[in-house]
């Protein structure tokens, strides 16, 4: 059983972020990390490897050259090898383009399970996994709090409106997992040393037999403007008053806004 975990490198949570003059995310001088929710996908894959269910775990990432750091960090947690897809033509890639490129790379890697995090920190559409599944014509098992593999079938445990379901589909699949799979492991010093010797390949669009034309430039969408959010009025504070008085003040506040 072969698992490919797709990861994304994102600016660190809480880092100071801004856009460049051509309305792209400015990545210069910003600390970059593995998208925190992708670490749960890594953890799920490594648990399946620890259990002997998965024979190999490969990491796949699309990004600039420095995204190889994210792949090395993932390899330090465990797993076998990694592929970085990097190409100047991919600057400004949107969700469709990202899905197109990952789908082409996954066609080449042909895993039983392509595993991804449920969302990324820096853009919250969460559409890439499902788009990849549609492009590759394989089933999608999304938002799993656990992934199980057996007898040519994958299952995810997914919250339903009132409880949870196990959703099943025949392999190969694209699956996404939530932060309920268990806390991601830390890389040990031994793991960090071992990661330096694990294979990390770099592919260009040419290696995927894709061209910038196939990708509609790099995006089907275009950002026409960025601005700061509307200034909110400063926070009003109620403090150092007894509870009944605080309650009356809150109720006045709600009444003024016609909320009660």
């Amino acid at each position: 059983m072969k698992i490919v975990v797709c990861i994304k490198q994102v600016p660190a949570t809480g880092a100071d972020k801004r856009y460049t003059a051509d309305l792209r995310l400015d990545r210069t001088g910003v600390e970059a990390i593995i998208n925190p929710l992708d670490e749960y996908a890594i953890e799920q894959a490594l648990r399946l490897a620890d259990a002997g269910t998965a024979d190999s775990v490969t990491y796949l990432c699309m990004g600039p050259d420095q995204a190889s750091e994210a792949l090395r960090r993932a390899l330090a947690m465990g797993g076998d090898d990694a592929v970085l897809i990097t190409d100047a033509a991919l600057a400004g890639a949107d969700e469709w383009t990202t899905a197109k490129v990952l789908a082409a790379a996954l066609d080449k890697l042909a895993p039983d399970v392509a595993l991804m995090g449920m969302a990324s920190d820096d853009a919250r559409g969460s559409l890439v996994p499902g788009a990849v599944a549609a492009m590759r014509d394989v089933p999608l098992l999304s938002y799993g709090s656990e992934l199980a593999l057996a007898d040519g079938e994958a299952r995810v445990r997914r919250l339903s409106a009132t409880g949870f379901d196990w959703i099943a589909a025949p392999l190969p699949v694209v699956a996404t997992v939530t932060d309920q799979v268990g806390e991601p492991r830390y890389a040990s010093l031994k793991g960090i040393m071992a990661a330096k010797r694990k294979p990390l390949e770099t592919w260009s669009l040419g290696d995927l037999e894709l061209s910038a034309d196939d990708l509609h430039g790099a995006a089907l969408t275009t950002v026409t403007d960025t601005r700061a959010p509307e200034e909110k009025p400063p926070t009003e504070r109620i403090e150092n008053v007894p509870a009944p008085e605080a309650a009356a003040k809150i109720a006045d506040w709600l009444e003024q806004r016609k909320l009660i």
Binding site: L25, P139, D165, T221, A246
Partner: protein, 329 residues
């Protein structure tokens, strides 16, 4: 290509989800700008009999993708067939099911994807949308690239559109074009487990009273429930409270839980970590109640009440009940 605005209309247990009604209103509003019609892509149990009633909320037509209780993603082939070359945009609720189907449209038909959006409009015959990115620190305006295929796929947060009520229209109901099968329709429910307690759909609540670590335990949610009831709202929680087992995960608000947009959010004993904030920052009014005067939630709440939630929440419940009683409401 037409100028129609399509929208995903989810049904379950015989009824439309609130998202279906909100998106019907939003699609009708956008269709009025584009010179087209609002068209529902209705799926799930109750879609066949309930599609016509979406007319009361603005839908001119309802295409029934299927009327069974099965995973939403299995409706993908029908949704793809119905959306192919059809209209300017497909609105999808920014829920797990909505995102699954939206992603299938993007991947199957090579469509531009937007959202979750906070606003949308039609400008010069093109759908333009606004999105909060980078944890809400930047608002971006986006549109399809020149020559991009249509329709655009647009994720919409709950409560972005206020449902039009009291309408009397009837949507013309049609069956989806024959779509056949694809790998996406192969997902099945292998096992189903019901929770003991009934849980509400938080995405549909217009008032939410949420509790966090400061609530201290399962029983600590009791005063929050009473306040929610007095306000006509629902109870939610932070990840810390859900992880502790004090409340079901269905009620977790945040990056990995529900993304909510109520008109009023009251956070009690919630510090306001970024992961929680991205799940509720588009609420219209935010009240925080916290003992810690330096809690991060105090930086973005509209009203920050510093104090003990176990004193303030019951006092507030009592005050609201008293005022409602005297106003006759």
């Amino acid at each position: 290509m037409s100028n129609d605005i399509l929208f995903l209309a989810e049904f379950s247990a015989g009824k439309p989800a609130r998202s279906a009604i909100e998106l019907a209103t939003g699609a009708a509003d956008l269709a009025a700008q584009s010179g087209g019609s609002a068209v529902a892509l209705a799926y799930g149990s109750g879609a066949a009999s309930g599609g016509a009633a979406l007319g009361a909320h603005g839908a001119a037509r309802a295409v029934v993708l299927g009327d069974e209780d099965r995973p939403a993603i299995t409706y993908a082939p029908a949704a793809v067939a119905a959306a192919r070359d059809a209209g300017l945009a497909v609105l999808a609720p920014a829920t797990p099911n909505g995102r699954d189907l939206a992603a299938a449209l993007v991947g199957s038909l090579d469509l531009p994807a937007f959202g979750p959006v906070r606003a949308a409009r039609v400008v010069d015959g093109v759908l333009e949308s606004e999105q909060a990115t980078l944890q809400g620190s930047v608002i971006t305006t986006a549109r399809p690239a020149d020559g991009a295929p249509t329709p655009s796929v647009v994720l919409v947060l709950a409560n972005t559109f206020t449902p039009a009520e009291g309408g009397s229209g009837t949507a013309e109901v049609a069956q989806a074009p024959d779509a056949g099968e694809s790998a996406l329709s192969r997902a099945t429910v292998a096992e189903s487990h019901e929770a003991d307690a009934k849980v509400v759909n938080l995405e549909e609540a217009t008032v939410i009273v949420a509790g966090g670590r400061g609530v201290g335990g399962e029983e600590g949610f009791a005063p929050l429930r009473e306040l929610a009831e007095a306000l006509g709202g629902a109870v939610g929680a932070s990840r810390a409270a859900a992880d502790a087992g004090w409340i079901p995960y269905q009620l977790q608000i945040g990056q990995t839980g529900k993304v909510v947009k109520p008109s009023l959010y009251v956070g009690a004993g919630i510090s306001g970590a970024i992961q929680h904030r991205v799940g509720m920052q588009t609420a219209e009014h935010v009240i925080a109640i916290n003992r810690d005067p330096d809690a991060p939630i105090g930086e973005f709440a509209d009203l920050f009440v510093v104090g003990d939630l176990f004193e303030i929440v019951p006092a507030l419940t009592e005050e609201i009940r008293r005022r409602k009683a005297t106003s006759g409401g």
